[in-house]
Symmetry: C2
Subunit: 312 residues, 2 copies
Amino acid sequence: MTAREVGLPATVPLPTRGDLPERVTIWEVGARDGLQNEDTVVPVETKLEFLDRLADAGLSVLEATSFVHPKWVPQLADAEQLLAGLRQRDGVSYPVLVPNERGLDRALAAGVRHIAIFASATETFANRNLNRSLDEQFAMFDPVVTRARAEGLDVRGYLSMCFGDPWEGPVAAEQVVKVGHRLLDMGCSQLSLGDTIGVATPGQVETVLDGFGSIDALAVHFHDTYGQALANTLAALRCGVSTVDSSAGGLGGCPYAESATGNLATEDLVWMLDGLGVRHGVNLDALADTSAWMAEQLGRPSPSRVVRALRG
Amino acid sequence: MTAREVGLPATVPLPTRGDLPERVTIWEVGARDGLQNEDTVVPVETKLEFLDRLADAGLSVLEATSFVHPKWVPQLADAEQLLAGLRQRDGVSYPVLVPNERGLDRALAAGVRHIAIFASATETFANRNLNRSLDEQFAMFDPVVTRARAEGLDVRGYLSMCFGDPWEGPVAAEQVVKVGHRLLDMGCSQLSLGDTIGVATPGQVETVLDGFGSIDALAVHFHDTYGQALANTLAALRCGVSTVDSSAGGLGGCPYAESATGNLATEDLVWMLDGLGVRHGVNLDALADTSAWMAEQLGRPSPSRVVRALRG
């Protein structure tokens, strides 16, 4: 069954309240943020096929892997192998997460041209995740960004805990804006605002985005822990955000685990964008096939509602 | 863990783009639309405890059951027993679905004061679901509504397939508006626009709502089959809709079935309303407890992401 057959008005762009971007770039994080949160360690050949099929489906930004120490993320311990085997394509970018200078060394050795760093918007999470204060994390990232830029690399800054923090509770928009601007000033070309624990709601999203003044360099990264990811994305689109992070098939969230902590599913995002007449370049049927196949590799249904409805 | 502890900014109403209603009435359909779509037949005592706990949690409209023939909906074959055992409360309404005159007879005999009828926006679904043409369904409903009104009952009209139809594909807004007005003109005090197969997206929601001119008598009823229910609800709220249908714990949708066809989960709606500073009168913790308890009765996790996150 295709999306069209079940009543998706894909060919009838509809008017909508508030401005929407004409086109959205989907920053596909399934292979990195998705797989690093799955219990199953996926073989490198499967990951390569996954990335190939995602590119075939029309996704143009595929976050491929991470150079975080394998002790912390064994699921991505094959980063070098993966990058060596990757059949890169024109028009497709394969950014890689780099936690520190050692990670940058590995990325440069592997020929990576686009990296992402992962900072915290809150003092407590910087402490818990990076064992550093909020200020110290910048001291750690500064040489990474400076060297990467000197080598001609593009650098994205992830900012985590932008809406709520498990230890601090709600995070003030001013705090997010301040820390975010430090990453942009440091040389990040894009800032991805992450709702790491999935607690944000649309008004809060608008408040934070408005706080930045210009939204040109901003992307959003929502988790669906409390079911808010797509509503928050709609709010962000209406603020003018045109880069949205999502995970093919909702990878990283378990459909029957106690807590569904995964990223927004790319298919659920594409369904909404199709209905809104916002271009994105992705073939939903090919993408849903890919996610259904990956769900089989993982031995469980996809957490994406669209995938389960179309391919269940 | 309470909602507040995980970072929900419930006490800080946030500014938001577009007008929002100050207060939303949640029309809780779990006991009817939810349970009629569960495989498990729940004992009447459990249903009564469920309704009691939902009222304790602050819900003020509890659709209790249906007088559809038990052959079609065996899950609700105990409608008379349930209504006889119901401990009604001041300030809480217990509407009951009534399919035809025979159903109205049963409802009146049971002392029901608030009924709902279930019409189709499309010709094909009227045919498939009611074995009648679009016009013939009105001939069937007219004496139901007329008699109910004469008896002093309040009548809600459900309108199904308002956005997409499994046989006809996308449904034109003009068609929905035309059929909807016939139900209002017939004497329905409220019209609930249903996305029965869950295909709608926010722009389409706005187009349909705008088509009605006045939204005062309108409610929305979204299914989460394609993950769009909460984003569509946000769009509807911004059009001024202030009655939203939802199902406690996402009852009626199976969290690991092939297709997640359930209603919007009340908890996921409440989470968003809390964040938006829209009043609703529901205690989220008490509601999540109730839904977690009902999930136990059904022997499976709740499809509500909030319930799984808070009570998983």
